[in-house]
């Protein structure tokens, strides 16, 4: 029965991955990627990694699908025809894949009790965290207490990612907007000199989202 679930999930995962590759419609590809994440979450549950599965379902299938849809609203739904021949990228990908598969040959067998990972700090965490930390979920104990430094680093990385996104998206020319008096302005790089008041007014206008602006919510229509 367990093998049946494993094989079904893995088969569906493979089919989904292949159809993402073949898919020319980016909207469909994003939805398939969400399904791929959900199937991965199912696989993690089978492997008893419920916390990882939870994260995969929430982030992979939830938020990142939304962000990808937000990106699609900016760049359009259809894939451009590739300008180059696929031979070289295909060769690079196959080579990288082969190296990665070769790398897995050195990995100790999955789930084996004699694996090094089970003989370093893991036994201490499993046996002592009940007395040292006193909470039943060992994952939380390891994450927040034993490995507090790492989790703090991860939180900082998430924060740094936001700083990066905000910097990237606020650079470059702003999208053109038409202000109320019908005059077309650009936020930062207007060609003719404008007075300071006009610039300020324009910036305020770009910062505030006007009701008729097309937002992500309208793209579902």
């Amino acid at each position: 029965m367990v093998e049946f679930v494993d094989i079904t999930l893995l088969l569906l995962l493979g089919i989904t991955a292949f159809s993402i590759l073949r898919q020319k419609n980016l909207f469909a590809a994003v939805m398939m990627a969400g399904i791929y994440s959900l199937l991965s979450a199912g696989l993690f549950v089978v492997m008893d990694a419920v916390d990882v599965a939870f994260t995969e379902a929430a982030v992979g299938a939830g938020i990142s699908t939304i962000l990808m849809l937000g990106t699609l609203a900016l760049v359009g739904h259809s894939e451009h025809q590739p300008q180059h021949r696929p031979i070289l990228p295909l060769f690079v990908v196959i080579l990288t894949g082969a190296v990665l598969v070769y790398g897995t040959l050195d990995i100790p067998p999955f789930g084996d009790a004699s694996n090094p990972v089970h003989h370093h700090v893991a036994p201490h965490y499993l046996e002592e965290s009940e007395h040292e930390i006193g909470i039943p979920n060992v994952v939380t104990s390891v994450l927040a207490s034993y490995r507090g430094y790492d989790t703090m680093g991860e939180t900082t990385v998430i924060f740094a990612a936001l700083v990066g996104v905000l910097l990237l998206l606020s650079l470059g020319p702003r999208p053109r907007r038409i202000v109320s008096n019908g005059q077309r302005i650009t936020g930062t790089d207007s060609e003719k000199p404008v007075s300071e008041e006009e610039v300020k007014e324009a910036q305020e206008d770009t910062l505030q989202v006007s009701p008729e602006e097309k937002t992500l919510g309208d793209t579902n229509g």
Binding site: I63, I135, A144, S145, T155, L169, G217
Partner: protein, 141 residues
């Protein structure tokens, strides 16, 4: 979206449950799967759903961009702050045992605060990134 009654009413019913479920995931993380990261993402998902159904300008009235920027920095500060408090109380950085007389209780408080920091940062970052993408206007294709 004015004519989509089922979506509007459905979202209105769902959003409070999503937010409460996020808090459940947060504070039940000690006993079951979950924790600050997952809770932050789910909490953010509630606001994203609101934005998708009712529009970006409406969710920005509830949760201004400035507030989410402050949130995303506040969580990291709370996390690191707990570390400095434990140092001030004579322990190592992020050694929660010194936060209470009983080291086990100290660990509980420390994990609670630290997970709260993770929740606040993840929530802030997810909503802020969504604002950044969704508010960028649209290139017509």
């Amino acid at each position: 979206m004015d004519d989509r009654v089922i979506l509007r009413v459905g979202a209105k019913i769902l959003i409070p449950f999503i937010l409460v479920f996020a808090l459940y995931v947060q504070f039940h993380g000690d006993y079951g799967p979950g924790g600050g990261f997952q809770a932050g993402v789910i909490f953010a998902a509630g606001f994203v759903l609101y934005a998708l159904i009712y529009g970006l300008e409406n969710v920005k009235k509830v949760l201004p961009p400035q507030a989410v920027y402050i949130c995303s920095a506040l969580g990291v500060l709370l996390f690191a702050g707990v570390g400095y408090v434990t140092m001030a109380l004579g322990g190592e950085f992020l050694n929660y045992g010194v936060l209470a007389h009983d080291p086990e209780h100290g660990q509980h408080y420390g994990i609670l605060l630290v997970e709260l920091g993770v929740l606040i940062t993840v929530f802030g970052v997810m909503v802020a990134v969504f604002y950044a993408f969704a508010g960028r206007g649209r290139v017509d294709t």
